[in-house]
């Protein structure tokens, strides 16, 4: 991919981060850390890697994205809004009663949301079902999933891992947002299962490891899909939680952020400065 196209993607990711801040401002708080860590991947998928049409969100041959780690929902809302699936004004209702952008995504409320995630460990099995259904109908649809790393402790993920390999779902692509932090602290202190890739390899997956906030590496990984014919794809994306706001980077207490006015202003300024620099 050409350098200035990569720059465009980087700029789009920054604009999506602005959308995240817009939602947190509207609600007063939100999962900043998780949304920021995966938003580069989500941007790359919707603006580069996926065959989707904002004007026809349910077209039969579309690629599908599932945010298994549903608490990162703002990342998806931000990107869908930026891509034109719905009007940005809806973002201002984040967190309100009966909002179309609730705390965790709802497929019956917003175009572009394929499933109601939020409880960890559901996304991979849903994705397997979708991949199987699309294949049965003869579509080449790819199914992309983002999971958290702490989320992988849920046994249901390993059930899905076995299914995906057995059914040779090489149209299934899972990004593990490996940011090393969960609510109780560093993942490696709560529950360590490093290296993640080899766990999946043993189940029969093809794996790759990338820096999850590096747009070049994300795009390169997407370009190499499927990594091995007949094998589901796992990408361990080493991310920085809160990447995009210097104060939040790798800080456990920005997992769920209750911003002061000053903090929010700082976060906004960093993005404005970044955008000015990238476009230059």
């Amino acid at each position: 991919m050409k350098v200035n196209d990569i720059n465009k993607l980087k700029a789009t990711a920054a604009k999506c981060r602005q959308n995240v801040l817009r939602m947190i401002k509207a609600n007063g708080s939100g999962h900043l850390g998780p949304a920021y860590s995966c938003i580069d991947i989500v941007t790359a998928l919707y603006f580069y890697g996926m065959n989707v049409d904002p004007q026809d969100p349910s077209k039969a041959d579309r690629d599908i994205f599932l945010l298994s780690a549903g608490h990162k929902g703002m990342a998806q809302y931000a990107v869908l809004a930026e891509a034109g699936f719905f009007d940005k004004s809806i973002l201002d209702t984040f967190g309100q009663f009966k909002s179309r952008v609730p705390g965790h995504p709802d497929m019956h409320k917003l175009p572009g949301i394929e499933a109601n995630t939020g409880s960890l460990g559901h996304g991979l099995n849903l994705a397997c079902g979708i991949a199987l259904g699309k294949r049965q109908d003869g579509y080449g649809s790819k199914v992309f999933v983002i999971t958290g790393d702490g989320e992988l402790a849920e046994g249901s993920n390993w059930e899905a891992a076995a299914i995906a390999a057995h059914y040779k779902l090489d149209n299934l692509v899972v990004f593990v947002d490996h940011n090393g932090l969960q609510i109780s602290g560093q993942t490696k202190d709560v529950m360590s299962f490093e290296p993640i890739a080899s766990h999946f390899a043993g189940f029969g997956w093809a794996t790759k490891e990338i820096r999850g906030n590096d747009m070049d590496e994300i795009v390169a990984a997407i370009d190499q899909l499927p990594f091995e014919k007949g094998k589901p794809n796992l990408i361990v994306a080493n991310t920085i939680k809160g990447c995009g706001f210097s104060k939040a980077e790798n800080q456990v207490n920005y997992h769920y952020w209750n911003p002061s006015e000053a903090d929010m202003a700082l976060a906004e300024k960093e993005l404005e400065d970044y955008l000015a620099g990238v476009q230059a």
Binding site: A153, E154, G155, S156, W158, A162, M191
Partner: protein
């Protein structure tokens, strides 16, 4: 080793008798796990039949709880309760239900039946013992069909992180489950490798070679990590006509035809070892 081989034969004989008497039993899996249980109760485990809750004992969780008869036979042979009681299995009011129940049977450490649950409980026991700074061993036996349950992988994931050294999971890998061969349903692939990837000390052995099983346990104990033993077994081992054929998961009524001859042959093998 001779004693263990004899115990394994006796376990098979008693288990077949009790299942045949009741007219129903999970014959395939009971027979495939008999040798592992013989090694545990014949050599490895510390226990007191007169005091099943002795706090110095080692623990066994038969997570594949439907194979209760194999364990009951071992317990009866070792004196936890009279052998005659084996024939009461599943009768109303029995202390021996078809799936192991810790509140009913002396010597049973955990209730099981819904696959995948027992092994998590076993880890809990191991963690509790660690907290009390005790070095009793905790063993869990799972089936290969059972290993499809995500809950098993939760246990496999967490145990190495919690420093439980006195914990050994044995997989009765008899290649079949209820409806078909495991490989046709959801292949487990290389379980030894996967367990190792998840942080365990993992070995594969012939699940019917009692010496090899015993050595594997010793290696696990010496490793300083939780141990995983992948037992290569044959479902129905000990009943030649039923070994590894399809549909040998559970027998009812007429399926037991020929069992008397099998028991006789096992009896003869036992006598030959004496």
């Amino acid at each position: 080793m001779n004693d263990i081989k004899k115990l394994a034969l006796e376990i098979r004989i008693e288990a077949l008798k009790m299942m045949n008497h009741y007219g129903f039993g999970h014959v395939g899996g009971v027979l495939s796990v008999a040798d592992a249980i013989a090694v545990l109760y014949g050599k490895q485990m510390k226990y007191d039949p007169k005091n099943p809750k002795w706090d110095g004992r080692d623990y066994l969780v038969l997570s594949k709880g439907h194979c209760g008869p194999a364990l009951y036979s071992a317990l009866a042979i070792k004196g936890f309760f009279p052998r005659e009681e084996l024939l009461t299995m599943n009768k109303l009011g029995t202390r021996l239900p078809s799936h192991v129940d810790k509140n009913k049977t002396p010597g049973i450490d955990m209730t099981a039946g819904s696959l995948g649950q027992g092994v998590s409980c076993a880890l809990g026991i191991a963690l509790g013992l660690k907290l009390q700074k005790k070095d009793n061993m905790v063993y869990a036996i799972i089936g290969d069909g059972e290993a499809q349950e995500g809950q098993v992988w939760e246990t496999l994931m967490i145990a190495p992180n919690k420093g439980v050294k006195n914990f050994i999971v044995m997989l009765d890998n008899n290649k079949q489950q209820l409806d078909d061969f495991t490989d046709n349903i959801s292949p487990l692939r290389d379980m030894r490798q996967k367990a190792e990837d998840f942080g365990w000390f993992a070995v594969t052995v012939d699940g019917h070679d009692v010496e090899a099983i015993n050595n594997a346990i010793e290696l696990c104990k010496a490793s300083g990590k939780p141990g995983f033993i992948n037992l290569n077994t044959i479902k129905g081992k000990g009943w030649p006509a039923k070994e590894a054929i399809s549909n040998n998961h559970a027998f009812r009524g007429p399926a037991f035809a020929g069992v008397d001859e099998v028991i006789n042959n096992l009896q003869k093998e036992l006598e030959a070892l004496n």
